[in-house]
């Protein structure tokens, strides 16, 4: 492997995060284990993320291969690195939101170190152009999350969540590795370009190759929590600290889907393998939509409701992936971006109510919120309407693009289930809204903490989601052009 100076120039956004992330750890070591003030630690991460975004902006999407074709800075990688970094920036103030709650005070530097590295790993997933680098990147983020989830102060639920994620994640990693080796045996290379180039022949001739790709799919679908690999998601996300759950449910989904798009769907794996696999994926999309939405219908815990609904949204996202063309890929990007913004915004509201618990709160505690805190009631309503896809919100346009893509492909029966899913979604997204606007029978004090940092995040995300809804057309157009330019 030959290294050139240019490789390092192009990967500046990535290695700079790694360098920055050591800063809090080193200072802690120098200060003999004394914890820095959380605000300083967070600002280090903030500066680092901002630096990476600026670096990415100035680099542009060059389609440059770096480190002997291991990584590639193409359009989705470029766009989603920025988006993921932005999601990271939005999560940082949430970590500050409740001191001594999200993470044990003693380990704050370590936590932020892991968080920065997980963002780096997520970007790396979107950059990867090789099965090995993809595998390493996925393991990289998994390691960070295995550690971060139980670090959320010593509580039983978070440790349970961490352990569950670790065990199941390891199984998924093993399946991924197995699939990877099968594909290597069949194709003789780890390089995406080589595999994709031969995929049409290999899929028809080589059973091992199909098996390998299926294993890879299963592992990736596990990470995105598509039915039937969604069982771990509610427990794990509910057990982890709320900011972390918000970040994971939006960012991990986005970056793994980009990888899935690059590898499996652009490779024509689905289309080349004939009708049966296409139908299988269609059913997976519909089933996760139904399972997610219907189980959300019966949740009394607000956090769990949002988590189950994320399974349903993953169904919509997968719908976009079938036989991707320019339109549906841009729609997918729009969906991922808007969903990320909305989900973080909605999940951030949980932090006001949960008190000392991390496992979320009952829907009933939202009762009468409008009377006590009209601003938060209205902002949460806005985010929930976004999730439900009521016009004129960004969530509506995301759904509009998905439906239009389905119309273009003539997948009427999927469209039907999509509509039914939206209607079911309405039923449970309206439940918390109705509770917020009804008055409690007894005048009791609503449990509500003042968290200025969280409020800041909510206000910013509110403005961004407004922009996303009114600029939906422009953004979609711009993302379509992104593909045609290079």
């Amino acid at each position: 492997m030959k290294l050139s100076f240019l490789d390092f120039v192009y990967t500046t956004p990535l290695w700079s995060i790694a360098l920055f992330s050591f800063l809090p750890l080193l200072t802690k070591a120098v200060a003999k284990g004394k914890e820095m003030r959380p605000l300083w630690v967070i600002s280090v991460a903030f500066v680092s993320f901002c630096f990476s975004i600026i670096a990415l902006m100035s680099l542009g999407y060059t389609n440059q291969l770096v480190f002997s074709n291991l990584l590639r800075l193409d359009q989705p990688a470029w766009l989603f690195s920025i988006v993921l970094l932005f999601m990271g920036i939005m999560t940082l103030p949430l970590l500050l939101g409740k001191k001594n709650h999200v993470v044990h005070d003693k380990f704050f530097s370590e936590f932020v170190f892991l968080f920065m590295n997980s963002v780096l790993g997520l970007c790396l997933i979107t950059w990867s152009n090789n099965l090995i680098s993809a595998f390493i990147a996925i393991e990289y983020i998994s390691l960070c999350f295995y550690l971060m989830i139980p670090l959320a102060k010593d509580r039983v639920s978070s440790i349970e969540a961490g352990l569950k994620y670790f065990v199941l994640g390891s199984v998924a990693a093993a399946i991924l590795l197995l699939g990877l080796s099968f594909v290597y045996i069949a194709a003789g290379s780890f390089d995406f370009n080589v595999i994709l180039h031969h995929s049409q022949v290999l899929i028809q001739k080589n059973r091992l190759f199909v098996l390998g790709l299926s294993f890879i799919c299963i592992a990736l679908l596990f990470k995105v929590a598509i039915f039937p690999f969604q069982f771990w998601l509610p427990d794990v996300y509910q057990g982890s600290a709320t900011p972390l759950a918000a970040f994971m449910s939006s960012a991990v989904k986005a970056s793994v889907l980009i990888l899935l798009l690059k590898l499996v769907f652009f490779g024509g794996f689905i289309t080349h393998s004939g009708q049966s696999l296409t139908v299988l994926f269609q059913w997976l999309a519909i089933l996760s939509l139904i399972v997610g939405h219907v189980s959300a219908l019966f949740q009394d815990n607000f956090k769990r409701l949002l988590i189950y609904s994320s399974i349903g949204h993953a169904g919509y996202i997968i719908m976009n992936l079938l036989s991707p063309d320019l339109f549906s890929v841009s729609s997918l990007f729009y969906y991922l971006i808007s969903y990320g913004v909305i989900q973080i915004g909605a999940m951030a509201h949980i932090m006001f109510f949960e008190g000392e618990e991390t496992t979320g709160h009952s829907l009933q505690s939202l009762k009468g919120l409008f009377k006590h805190k009209p601003f938060y009631a209205l902002s949460l309503t806005w985010f929930l309407l976004n999730l439900a896809g009521i016009p004129p919100t960004a969530g509506f346009f995301a759904k509009l693009f998905v439906f239009e893509a389905l119309v273009q492909k003539g997948l009427w029966w999927m469209l039907f289930w999509g509509v039914i899913g939206s209607a079911v979604g309405l039923a449970y997204y309206l439940k918390p809204i109705i509770l917020m606007f009804t008055l409690p029978e007894k005048e009791k004090e609503v449990q509500f903490e003042k968290l200025p940092w969280v409020t800041t995040v909510i206000v910013i995300l509110l403005f961004i989601s407004l922009d996303l809804s009114f600029g939906a057309g422009l953004l979609h157009e711009w993302m379509t052009q992104l593909w045609t330019q290079v």
Binding site: S330, L400, V407, V419, L430, E477
Partner: protein, 513 residues
């Protein structure tokens, strides 16, 4: 710019009101809404009644990749609906601005938002833009019912929202399909209604599964739920009973008209063959709704529910008028939208006024009101006469035209439709008998105050104006209605697209005449 400001001003008004203090908000809202009405009157000068085409259009690209535009305009069909909205809006605001409702500011802001959305959906000429306004109007109404509604408001608002939203989701699918059809036939995506009109939508073999009939049903569900047509009406009485007075007025007088308007704007011109083919079924539903609504109204013991069911009955005339395909009945159906808007608004105001005093809507609790509240009783008689469709009131003109047109085009429906008129007189007169005459069951009920009389006077003036001088109203809308259906009863639904003359359908009865 005038149409854009008609849509934008209510939203800006809502923002202003939300930022003001409780006390100031009431006065500002009244002034703003009144100013808005006067501003909307300028349409009389700008609108050219001799021109049947869409006027005052404004067009701007919005989603270039999907051909979604910001495209608004007005024609004779939407003209009176826009004015009806801007006319009832200050009345609703004035009525509720100085009431005792808690959180006045939010209530008024919701009314402003609702007006903006409704106005947008009447003016939008782009399918997706229409959908956004159509669906968006659910939100303020949902909150009006949820926050200021009666005892069972949670269930009512939820049912209202989910029922209507599910209907319009199917319409969204229909719209997206139409956009795709435009791409297939014209080469580029477009959600422009005028491009939709140019489409050649296959209706092969009058098949239930042909493209046109499937598309027809997607739109039909959305509008039939909203209108509401007979089997899809169950959300309406519930929503009406729980809604606050101004919400009920807006719901009955304007929001229902959005559904009926959808039939005129989308279903008739877009799916001529399917509408013609399914017309008997629609007429059946309409007539069934007329009788069913009237019978249900007869059986009600709740003041508001009675009037809600009478709405179901009256909306049936609109749909019947549209789908018997005669020139007269179409005009009558259109006119019914206006007159029902006025009479139902008046009735709901009056019910709100009396139940604010007595705190009950049960008819059994009322009796002998004519002795206690003479002014109230007089006003109620006048408005209910319009609902009964007595000559000199607007209701007479519209129902007469519908029945006359039906008589000419398809005589089978007439006996059933007439039953509705008789039953209508029945339930209104029984109501009057029960509430205003007989034994006096209540004491110390003050008569209407100046504010309430001021609210009612414009409505009553218009009820008589629509009855005595209908030509004033038809002058503005006739040209556009003639586009849908010409004088001889020829069903001429494709005039927007001369290239599609072959679709011109002939109503058999009309031609014989």
């Amino acid at each position: 710019m005038i149409l854009t400001s008609l849509i934008a001003l209510p939203f800006i008004g809502a923002l202003i009101i939300f930022c003001l203090s409780e006390k100031k908000a009431s006065y500002t809202a009244v002034i703003l809404s009144l100013g808005y009405f006067i501003f909307s009157l300028s349409l009389f000068f700008l609108f050219d009644p001799t021109n049947s085409a869409l006027q005052l259009t404004e067009q701007r690209q919005w989603f270039p990749s999907l051909g979604i535009q910001y495209f608004i305009g007005i024609d004779g069909i939407s003209f009176w609906l826009v004015l009806l909205t801007s006319f009832l809006f200050p009345l609703c605001v004035f009525y509720s601005a100085f009431g005792e409702e808690k959180n006045q500011k939010g209530f008024l802001a919701c009314l402003f938002l609702l007006t903006g959305f409704v106005m947008g959906s009447f003016l939008a000429l782009d399918g997706i833009l229409f959908y956004i306004f159509f669906e968006g109007s659910l939100l303020p109404l949902f909150f009006l019912i949820l926050l200021w509604g009666g005892k069972d408001r949670v269930y009512a608002s939820l049912k209202f929202f989910i029922y209507t939203a599910l209907g319009s989701l199917f319409m969204l699918v229909g719209l997206l399909t139409l956009m795709f059809l435009v791409k297939e036939q014209a080469g580029e995506f477009s959600a422009n209604i005028l491009d939709f009109y140019q489409l050649n939508i296959p209706f092969v073999g009058q098949h239930l599964l042909s493209t046109q009939s499937l598309l027809f049903f997607t739109f039909f569900f959305a509008f039939a739920v909203k209108a509401p047509l007979f089997p899809f009406h169950t959300w309406l009485p519930l929503a009406h009973v729980e809604a606050p007075t101004a919400g009920s007025v807006f719901l009955a007088a304007i929001v229902l008209k959005m559904g009926v308007y959808g039939f005129l704007r989308f279903i008739l011109p877009l799916f001529p063959e399917a509408s013609f083919y399914y017309a008997p079924w629609l007429c059946f539903l309409a007539v069934f709704g007329i009788i069913y609504g009237a019978l249900m109204a007869l059986a009600q013991s709740d003041f508001k529910k009675l009037i809600a069911y009478s709405s179901v009955s009256h909306i049936g005339y609109c749909i019947l008028g549209f789908f018997v395909f005669s020139h007269y009945s179409l005009s009558g159906g259109y006119y019914q939208m206006l007159t029902h808007g006025l009479s139902s608004a008046g009735l709901f105001f009056l019910v709100g006024m009396i139940s604010a005093r007595t705190h009950t809507k049960q008819l059994d609790h009322y009796g002998g009101l004519a002795q206690l509240t003479p002014i109230y009783s007089a006003l109620f008689f006048i408005v209910s006469l319009s609902a009964i469709a007595l000559p000199l009131t607007g209701g007479f003109i519209s129902e007469f035209l519908v029945l006359f047109g039906t008589f000419l085009a398809d005589i089978r429906w007439v006996p059933f439709a007439i039953t509705g008129v008789v039953l209508g007189a029945g339930y209104m007169l029984f109501l009057i008998l029960k509430v205003f005459f007989g034994e006096v069951k209540m004491q110390n009920i003050p008569d209407l105050n100046l504010k309430e009389i001021l609210v009612m006077i414009p409505i009553i003036v218009l009820i008589f104006m629509t009855g005595i001088w209908p030509n004033l109203f038809f002058k503005y809308s006739q040209k556009s209605l003639d586009q849908l259906i010409d004088q001889k009863g020829n069903y001429n639904l494709t005039v927007h697209s001369p290239s599609l003359e072959k679709h011109k359908l002939v109503s058999t009865q009309g031609n014989k005449k």
